[in-house]
């Protein structure tokens, strides 16, 4: 499955990083604790979080995640948006809460 497939099937907003919409997705990780994410997320996973600042993109890039999904209607800060475009790692958005978004993604990837 690709990031663009998630966007379509989970009805996600694409804030930035469009060049990465073809990134392959193999799983997901949900956490707002950055060193937990650093230690546990893996490449080509989608990271679900409510953090919106630039450091999420530093982590996303170092760990080569497929995309970041911001929950509850949060929007990325400008610096995060710029880095997302530079790295080609999309930041996506949903109005759903973390629990619901994780459940939807899990269900989709399990199919």
């Amino acid at each position: 499955m690709k990031v663009c497939d998630l966007v379509e099937q989970l009805n996600l907003k694409v804030f930035c990083g469009e060049q990465g919409l073809d990134n392959e997705v193999v799983g997901g990780y949900t956490s707002d604790l950055l060193s937990d994410v650093m230690g546990n997320v893996d490449e080509n996973q989608v990271w679900i979080t409510l953090q919106t600042h630039k450091n999420i993109m530093a982590i996303a890039s170092l760990k080569e995640v497929a995309a970041v999904i911001l929950v509850k209607g949060y929007k990325p800060e400008q610096a995060a948006l710029e880095q997302s475009n530079e790295e080609g790692i999309p930041i996506l958005g949903t109005d759903l809460e973390t629990f619901e978004m994780s459940g939807e993604l899990f269900g989709l990837l399990k199919k």
């Binding site: 060193s35 490449e43 630039k54 170092l62």
Partner: protein, 139 residues
């Protein structure tokens, strides 16, 4: 080969830049991707610790055919009890830093898990030195 990077204390907008540069270099040197991944986790945590907890520091990276050796030296408050700091969940991070999602007290344990050898030494009110080494070939 030796590379040196400076890290500014308190400047979260630059946090991770040195780790990113080292990652690029390791990839160019064709280091085993698994080792690159582990090193990047360890180095990022140590770099962010300088940003979050110290005033400034220097990262020195040495790579040869046998190992990658990284030393992070900072000026800062130091760590009074290193064994305690190494425990998962221990953190003195400020509330501002915690709001950003740092301060879980998982950084040093992450470093320990991802390098072959780790040495942390510190002098209170002077600074901290984190030294890590990972072997590139199976010993």
């Amino acid at each position: 080969m030796e590379f040196v990077y400076e890290v500014e204390g308190g400047n979260f907008t630059k946090a991770g830049n040195a780790s990113s540069a080292v990652k690029k270099t390791m990839k160019q040197l064709n280091v085993d991707p698994k080792i690159v991944k582990r090193t990047v986790v360890a180095l990022y945590e140590a770099e962010v610790n300088i940003v979050a907890h110290a005033y400034g520091g220097v990262i020195t990276v040495n790579v040869n055919a046998e190992h990658i050796h990284i030393v992070l030296d900072d000026n800062g408050p130091g760590i009074p009890d290193i064994d305690l700091a190494m425990q998962e969940g221990f953190s003195t991070a400020s509330s501002k830093v915690r709001e950003m999602g740092f301060g879980a007290g998982m950084g040093l344990p992450n470093i320990k898990k991802n390098v072959d050898e780790l040495k942390v030494s510190s002098e209170v009110d002077k600074g901290t030195r984190v030294e890590m080494k990972t072997y590139l070939k199976n010993q």
